[in-house]
């Protein structure tokens, strides 16, 4: 049995979109961080994390997402989430992540939002 998260990504101008598929625990979080740091090193100024194929993010996974957020903030970049289930959305807001990262309903909304912020 493995629920480990698969991560894929694509660069669109200054923005890198990362898609997750599966349970975000420590391994899933590390996969996201590896992909995110690689995209930042390649020059992306904003990251959009599309979590529409993820139904559970545990607190270990969230702690790694916070590390990614810190790295993005250090670079004066933008981190946005989209496609969150109501439970994940609620959890991120409980933790205060919405104060530092953008949360959008859809990927299109997220791309419009981060492009406006990085223009």
């Amino acid at each position: 049995m493995s629920e480990t998260c698969k991560v894929s990504s694509e660069r669109r101008g200054d923005v890198a979109i990362l898609w997750t598929d599966g349970y975000i625990n420590n391994q899933g979080g590390e996969e996201i961080a590896k992909e995110a740091y690689s995209r930042l090193e390649q020059g992306a100024r904003a990251l959009v994390l599309n979590l529409e194929k993820t139904r559970i993010v545990n607190s270990i996974g969230i702690s790694i997402l916070i590390e990614v957020l810190e790295k993005v903030m250090d670079r004066k970049g933008v981190l946005a989430f989209c496609g969150l289930t109501p439970t994940i959305d609620k959890t991120f807001r409980i933790m205060g992540l919405a104060q530092y990262a953008e949360i959008y309903p859809t990927q299109e909304d997220a791309l419009r939002g981060v492009e406006a912020k990085t223009a």
């Binding site: 559970i56 545990n58 969230i62 702690s63 409980i94």
Partner: protein, 144 residues
């Protein structure tokens, strides 16, 4: 009040075993008619209770003992609920002394963890934690 409909299981302290537990929670949540969003909240709270025990409890029997109960409030037209009990035979802890986390504190700390109990309390309708040298019991309830 539980009406006798309950399922018990034990899971080993091992990576991803919390996902086995969430499958049971989802099945019982569907049985009692909880919405998908409420089932997701139960699943995440259960994941947090399990990984908290995996990481901190130092369980003597290397097992977590889970009981899922279906019940209804005792008053007339009382709401149905799903209750989940997570019991470990570990070293226990004083949950009153667990500091409330905040993202500001998390940013300046090397330790990014410590959100589990906060997430459980925020997602479930009722949470009761008892702990001692015998171990820890987390009782969580979600109403329909």
């Amino acid at each position: 009040m539980s009406d006798g409909r309950e399922v018990s299981m034990s899971i080993p302290v091992a990576p991803e075993m919390e996902i086995v537990a969430t499958a049971q929670a989802a099945a019982l949540g569907e049985y009692v008619g909880l919405s998908r969003d409420k089932i997701d909240e139960v699943k995440l709270a259960l994941v947090e209770a399990c990984i908290n025990a995996f990481e901190h409890a130092d369980c003597r029997d290397e097992q977590l003992h889970l009981t899922f109960r279906l019940g209804r409030e005792p008053q007339a037209k009382g709401r149905e609920f799903l209750e989940v009990e997570v019991l470990d035979k570990g070293k226990g802890f004083d949950h009153h002394r667990v500091e409330a986390p905040s993202l500001q504190k998390t940013f300046v700390s090397h330790r990014k963890r410590g959100w589990g109990l906060q997430i459980i309390k925020s997602l479930m309708d009722e949470v009761d934690i008892t702990s001692g040298e015998w171990g820890t019991r987390i009782l969580m309830r979600k109403y329909k």
